[in-house]
Each structure stands twice: as structure tokens, then as C-alpha cells.
Amino acid sequence: MSTVPDNLRYASTHEWVQVDDDGIATIGISDHAQNTLGDIVFIELPEAGAMVNSKDEVAVVESVKAASDIYSPVSGEILEVNEALLDAAETINLAPYAGGWFYKLKLSDASELDKLMDADAYVEHCDAE
């Protein structure tokens, strides 16, 4: 079974968001997503400084199975990307909620978080897929 931490918000396209006290969001993909993709071999990440809108394609994950677009679950300015993944994309498989984070973003509209799912709703969403 996939892990679905309670303290995160989830998009229907399987990204997670964690927001700290300063309004900085960290974004990655769920355990369910990495498990479905299979072994991840390459990743393309956005540029720090870029402004993105929610649902924009911001990254590409190449797994043994397929290439998959990653959509930003929230809008804002990208502050930092996880460059360690460029040479170690398998970290996304091994630790999707820790070392496998994709990028950090300064939220421009905190109300977007309300449109995302909590853990219970996300589990139901995965079961229904």
C-alpha cells in the first residue's frame, strides 16, 4: 500500500504540497505516483525564479515505463529546485516525501490550497482511479 501522509495537500494529478509558516510550498509527487510510474531514470525541473500558475506543466519525469508531465498544484514564484535529483532521480522512488521533493515555491494565492485534497480524499481518489 502507498503511504499518504496526513500533513500534505494533494492534487488529482498526484502532486503533493507542504506549506511552511512563511508561505513557502514544497512540491513533489506522491508515493502512489512513483509506484505507478516505476523506476524513475531522469527528471527535468523548472528554473528557479520562474513564475508558474497552478496546473502549468513544470517538470517531466522519465521512468522505465513512460514520460510523465508534472503539473504545479499551486501558483507562485519558484525559489529553489532540487538539483540533486538531476543525478539521482531514483530518490523520487525511494523517498517521495523527503529527498524526492521537486521544487519550492512562494505561494501567490494561498486559497488554492483549499482546492487540493487532504489525505483521506486523496486515498479515495487513488482507489477510484
Partner: protein, 367 residues
């Protein structure tokens, strides 16, 4: 629910992720495809390929029939147990299927792909008219492929345990490549689809679960269809329905060496068509199947367009090579192409053309 091999429960027990494969519930991986791939390259792994179709061919005309049916020539099989890879062509010289044929005590045994079973059997039956042959499908068999540098030694360890099997392992240790041996109702051959040493074992399905358990206890790892595909791609081996099909000449699928052109009076099905294809090839109008290498980031995948200095081609099979740590592909491109770019999701990326053979015995083999 799909069809199940005799090892279905064993796959679940080993943590397999199951997928539908041509109507069969088969393991795609048992956790990590890349780890499984590397197990086969470094130690030993076992694949359940019991979904494949086995047909035994007997009768006075079995040889004459197969010399008509197959593009390769079973006359080369000069002793029992010898194996031959061949295409089965239609009249237009398209590939109906690729297969392995073994010479057996009963006559011959053919192993064809699972996804093509129905049309293969129909084709084989319809062309048996006038030959004294019996075609008997053998559904009650398990087929395991055990591959990797330690595969033969580990299989022999299991078979030697307590006289459980009607098999003398001395005969297995002596097997040359592309040859097999019948031991009771077991058939064991040095054939496979990985580019590593290994064995394929065909035996009664009721014995499969216990044998599987013993292999795993001996340190042979279960390997899913995902790694089977990346291993065969590294070995430059074609996959039916991807690298060739009924619309593709074997000459455009790197299969020229599997056609027995001699003797010239052997009238196999599709002969006149492939003779014509050979003339087209000489005239430079027949595309060829090549290897492609992408040494930068990104993954080549089946269906991507290839733009060459000499026209356009297509990737027939592509993926990440766990051995080489970059992407490789098989692609059908115009002859005399020297430089190519792959259209990877709209981005043109230069790729290098190599011989379609990337890894043998765990090592890179192209320049």
C-alpha cells in the same frame, strides 16, 4: 480476469505487480525493474514465460512442412535438441511471427509468441494441407527462462537436489549454445532473450510451483516482463509487433541473417517476396533497422519520429538501458542515413547510429 500461468500465485507471493499481457495476468515487476535487470546481468534471474505457445510437430512430412513454412531452414538442425530462430512469413514477405524451432524426438517443437497464438495456429494449420503432419498444441507445460552468469550452475544445483527430477545435469552442463536436451518429460535448452548465458526449461506445469520455490531458495531472482523487455532491447533482439510485423519485410527488421537463401530451390512461403525485397535493398529503397544511442539525458521511446539527413524514420523500440545508464533504441530509418535527430516530445535531440546490439554478457558491445 485474465488467464493464469501455473505460477500466478507464486508471482503474487513474490510481490509482483501484475498487468494484462495479451489476455494473461503477468508480472511486470516485483518492485524494481532496474534491480531485476541488473540481477540478470550480474547473477541469475527467472522469467515465467508459460504464456507462450508450444506446438509439437510430428509426422513423416514434418521436416518438409517446416521447410515450406519457415524462412530459416530446419535442414540445419542436424541433431536432436538443436534450435533455430526463424521468421514465419506471409506471401508478401511480411512477418507473421518470429519463433524458435527445436528438433525433438517427436519431430519438431515450435515456441511462438502468446499475443499471436490464434493467427499463428490458423496459419500453420491452413498450410499443413497436403503434408503428413500432426500439429499438437501443448498447453499443459510451464516455460521458465533462467538467465544470467550464474544461471546454469544454479539450475543444476536445484535439479541435483535429492533426485527429484528426471534430469541428469551432466547433459545440461555440456549443452552448446542453441541446443537442448530432452530428459524425461523435461526439455532444457540454451536459448533465451537477454544476451546472457541461460537456459529455457519446458516441463509439466504441475511441477512448476515447487521448482520455482527451489530456484528462489538457490538465489535466483524473479524477473518481470519489464526487465525482460529492457534486457532484450540491450541485446538488440526484436520484439514482435514492435520491431516487425506483417507489414514489415525481415530485411527491414535486421533479420536477413535468419533467412536461409540456400538452397535456391527451397520454396518457403514468402520467398519470392523477400527476393524482391532484396533487390529493393540493393537499389537503396528498403529501410533498415539500426541501433540508436542517446548519450545525454532523456529517453527514446517506441513511436518517436527520427529525422535523418536522408529522410524520416521511426523508433520501433526504445527505453533506458540500466547497464549503459542512458537511453537506447531500435529504429527503422532510410538507408545511407548518417546523422539523425529524435523528436522527443517535440524537442529534436541528436542521436548516434550504431549496430543494433548494445550489450552482451553484461558488457557494452558497440563502438
Amino acid at each position: 480476469m485474465g488467464q493464469h500461468t501455473p505460477l500466478y500465485q507464486k508471482h503474487l507471493d513474490a510481490g509482483a505487480k501484475m498487468v494484462d499481457f495479451a489476455g494473461w495476468d503477468m508480472p511486470i515487476n516485483y518492485g524494481s525493474q532496474i534491480e531485476e535487470h541488473q540481477r540478470v546481468r550480474s547473477t541469475a534471474g527467472v522469467f515465467d514465460v508459460s504464456h507462450m505457445t508450444v506446438v509439437d510437430i510430428s509426422g513423416d512430412d514434418a521436416k518438409a512442412y517446416l521447410r515450406k513454412l519457415l524462412a530459416n531452414d530446419v535442414d540445419k538442425l542436424d541433431a536432436e535438441g538443436r534450435a533455430l530462430y526463424s521468421a514465419m512469413l506471409n506471401e508478401n514477405g511480411g512477418v507473421i511471427d518470429d519463433l524458435i524451432v527445436y528438433r525433438m524426438s517427436v519431430g519438431y517443437r515450435i515456441v511462438v509468441n502468446c499475443a499471436t497464438r490464434t493467427k499463428d495456429l490458423a496459419w500453420m494449420n491452413s498450410h499443413s494441407t497436403g503434408f503428413d503432419v500432426a500439429l499438437v498444441e501443448k498447453p499443459g507445460l510451464a516455460i521458465l527462462a533462467v538467465h544470467g552468469p550464474q544461471s546454469r550452475e544454479k539450475v543444476c544445483v536445484v535439479l541435483d537436489q535429492g533426485q527429484l527430477y528426471p534430469v541428469k545435469t551432466a547433459a545440461i552442463k555440456l549443452l552448446a549454445n542453441f541446443s537442448g536436451v530432452e530428459l524425461g518429460n523435461w526439455f532444457i535448452a540454451r536459448t533465451g532473450y537477454t544476451g546472457e548465458k541461460g537456459l529455457e526449461l519446458i516441463f509439466p506445469e504441475k511441477e512448476a510451483p515447487a521448482f520455482w520455490d527451489k530456484l528462489l531458495t538457490a538465489g535466483v531472482h524473479p524477473i518481470g516482463l519489464g526487465a525482460r523487455d529492457s534486457l532484450r532491447l540491450e541485446a538488440g533482439m526484436n520484439l514482435y509487433g514492435h520491431d516487425m510485423d506483417e507489414e514489415i519485410s525481415p530485411l527491414a527488421a535486421n533479420m536477413e541473417q535468419t533467412i536461409a537463401w540456400q538452397p535456391e530451390d527451397r520454396d518457403f512461403i514468402g520467398r519470392s517476396a523477400v527476393v524482391r525485397h532484396r533487390a529493393e535493398q540493393a537499389a537503396g529503397s528498403m529501410p533498415r533497422l539500426v541501433g540508436l544511442v542517446l548519450e545525454q539525458r532523456g529517453v527514446l521511446r517506441g513511436g518517436q519520429r527520427i529525422l535523418c539527413d536522408n529522410g524520416e524514420g521511426i523508433i520501433t523500440s526504445g527505453g533506458f538501458s540500466p547497464t549503459l545508464k542512458h537511453s537506447i533504441a531500435l529504429a527503422r530509418i532510410p538507408v545511407n542515413s548518417h546523422s539523425c535527430q529524435a523528436d522527443i516530445r517535440g524537442r529534436l535531440t541528436p542521436v548516434r547510429i550504431v549496430k543494433p546490439n548494445f550489450v552482451r554478457f553484461g558488457k557494452k558491445v558497440f563502438e
